[in-house]
Amino acid sequence: MSFLSYLINGLSLGSVYAIIALGYTMVYGIAKMLNFAHGDVIMIGCYVVFTLMSQYGVHPGISILAAILICTCLGVVIEKIAYKPLRGANSLAVLITAIGVSYFLQNLALLIFGADTKSFTSVVNMPPLHLAGGKLTISAVTIVTVLSCIVIMIALMLFIRKTRAGQAMLAVSEDRDAAQLMGVNVNGTISLTFAIGSGLAAIAGILLCSAYPTLSPYTGAMPGIKAFTAAVFGGIGSIPGAFVGGLVLGIIEILGRAYISSQLSDAIVFAVLILVLLIKPTGLLGKPIQEKV
């Protein structure tokens, strides 16, 4: 029974990683850049919900919508100001800029909200589910997190397969120059990618803080790095890959903590990552890279 309970905790943590990883992987797949500020967009989303809900007493649903909206705009603005001027520059310059944006957001939050940790009120107010005569307890946040993750993944896949904007994204990710020649609005498509990724970051942040109720300007940093690992694990650029990578990473982390060592859980996660990359360099579901001549 303990094993099942650990597994469920792992699924819950993994689902949060997966939603964050989806944002990483989409941006990487389409804009070919690592958006290290992604984790901090999560943190901003949490602060928006915290401020609205706990300080102004706004309904959770409206707070969530506001957070998604603000994060979406933030994502687009960051892309326009920080990344777009560097579209032609080498990838190292963009990477450093992303790290700069990350520090900027953290310090902005420090200035506005202060350094002290705040206790986040869960947006899910339902009683936990008791199974097997009370031996197994599944919290409502866990159920909501896992369901949201699945819904988001399916919706994203449908969006990319079935809509024109989605097809444009695919085209840009395959070959940016050719797509432009075929009349695809590349800048618009990249902006849309950032908008969706940042909106997802808001959702991920709210679920993260609901499950692990603490909020500080550094809340997004560690989950951001773990989710990036998950994206690489599953094959960066692949949407099902981010999903699988996130879940596997979450489960390994929790089971490692429970059965091997609670101090080494992070080390175990990264050891598994190295192993996977040695055997399958493009990640679990990544496409083999073909060098174009």
Binding site: D116, V141, A211, Y212, P213
Partner: protein, 388 residues
């Protein structure tokens, strides 16, 4: 001619410098009709809550003593320097205070800067009493004394308290293995628990990189059948643990140490979750003791908040100085080194009641370590209430 002049000038400067350096050691820079007590601690930055508490607590004690006629008939001057919880700034602050003519130091507040400053005070033989730096490592010379418990001491006292009051038979521990404070308390707790036949059924660690999810650690404690969970950690993590235990439907007793002090002030924290949490702290602001009541009233009037244990420890530090100074019959004419020699002989002989001493009061070992009884408080109705 010009060359000769500049040579002469250089010579004058060099001699001037030498005399200045020579005069520095042990000579009094300040006046000889007042005692000058210095304080160092973080008044700004992330640890400001501790530094300000010490600053205010010291101020109240100094004002009281001055009103009552001073220290051996001399008034006390008090200057507190901000170190932003930074070792280098702390040493600078110490030098500033020495230039001012400091006779004794109440500080520093936090452990890491205290290690750097104590190194200096031992070299200089400056009498030092830290209200709150809790590592045993700060007691590096016979002129350094501590008012708070050392980390290992908190561990053994907690185990003794749990065992004596039969709070539990099976204990689980959740601790931060990446923090010396937490790990130090845990190690001593486990050692003491063994000798008291208190069964430690689970020890689950977390690290600074993964301190937001404690469901696994809680589940381990629950599966091991722990009816009390010992939390030698800070209040931020403890607030998450209480929330997650509640979500899991696991309701053991929770027992913390001084790092838990502050849990009721976490913004937006549902304090009903902390109901029934016990913690070992040397000071309870709600105590019926007359001295505590008067201190809390004065503190609230002056600074608009309820004093924590850091303020109380600082208050006791000043009264320890007073008791030792009277015994040693020191005067401001003495150099700080002479004061220090007289004070450290007197410190081991005094026994003051203090705010944090309980019934038996505070006594000091020659090593600088304090001997006092901890108080256990329990959180009831969103407030700390003494358990006696």
């Amino acid at each position: 001619m010009k060359k000769l002049l500049s040579m002469a000038l250089a010579l004058v400067l060099a001699v001037g410098c030498l005399t200045a350096c020579g005069g520095g050691s042990g000579d009094k820079g300040g006046s000889s009709d007042t005692f000058r007590i210095g304080g160092i601690g973080p008044a700004t930055g992330a640890a400001a809550i501790y530094g300000n508490a010490v600053k205010y607590g010291t101020q109240i004690a100094v004002d009281e003593i001055n009103e009552a006629g001073g220290l051996n008939g001399y008034q006390i001057e008090y200057d507190f320097q901000d170190d932003v919880h930074d070792a280098e700034k702390s040493v600078n602050a110490y030098n500033t205070l020495k230039d001012w003519g400091m006779d004794m130091l109440v500080g520093t507040v936090t452990t890491a800067p205290c290690l750097a400053v104590a190194d200096k005070t031992v070299q200089d033989n400056m009498f030092t009493i830290t209200p709150s730096a809790s590592s045993p490592d700060v007691l590096m010379g016979d002129n350094v004394f501590q008012v708070c418990f050392t980390d290992p001491n908190q561990g053994s006292k907690s185990a003794e308290y749990i065992s004596e009051n039969k709070l539990a038979t099976k204990v689980g521990i959740i601790y931060d293995s990446s923090d010396v404070y937490s790990d130090g308390i845990r190690a001593k707790f486990v050692e003491t628990a063994k000798s008291l036949n208190l069964e430690v059924v689970s020890e689950a660690a977390f690290t600074a990189d993964s301190k937001t999810d404690f469901q696994t650690q809680l589940k381990q404690a629950q599966d091991a059948g722990a009816d009390l969970v010992f939390l030698p950690i800070y209040y931020t993590e403890a607030s998450i643990i209480l929330k997650q235990a509640n979500d899991m439907g696991y309701a053991p007793k929770f027992f913390g140490v001084d790092g838990m002090d502050g849990i009721l002030t976490v913004e937006n924290f549902d304090t009903s979750l902390a109901e029934g949490v016990m913690l070992l702290t040397p000071f309870a602001a709600d105590s019926e003791d007359e001295a505590v009541k008067s201190f809390v009233t004065k503190y609230q009037e002056a600074y608009k908040e309820i004093p924590n244990q850091f303020a109380a420890d600082a208050y006791d530090a000043v009264y320890a100085i007073k008791a030792a100074a009277e015994k040693a019959e020191i005067t401001p004419e003495m150099t700080y080194s002479e004061i220090s020699d007289a004070m450290k002989a007197a410190m081991v002989e005094i026994n003051i009641k203090g705010l944090t001493g309980g019934d038996e009061g505070l006594k000091w070992e020659a090593t600088g370590e304090v001997n006092k009884q901890p108080k256990a408080v329990i959180i009831q109705g969103g407030k700390y209430v003494s358990m006696e």
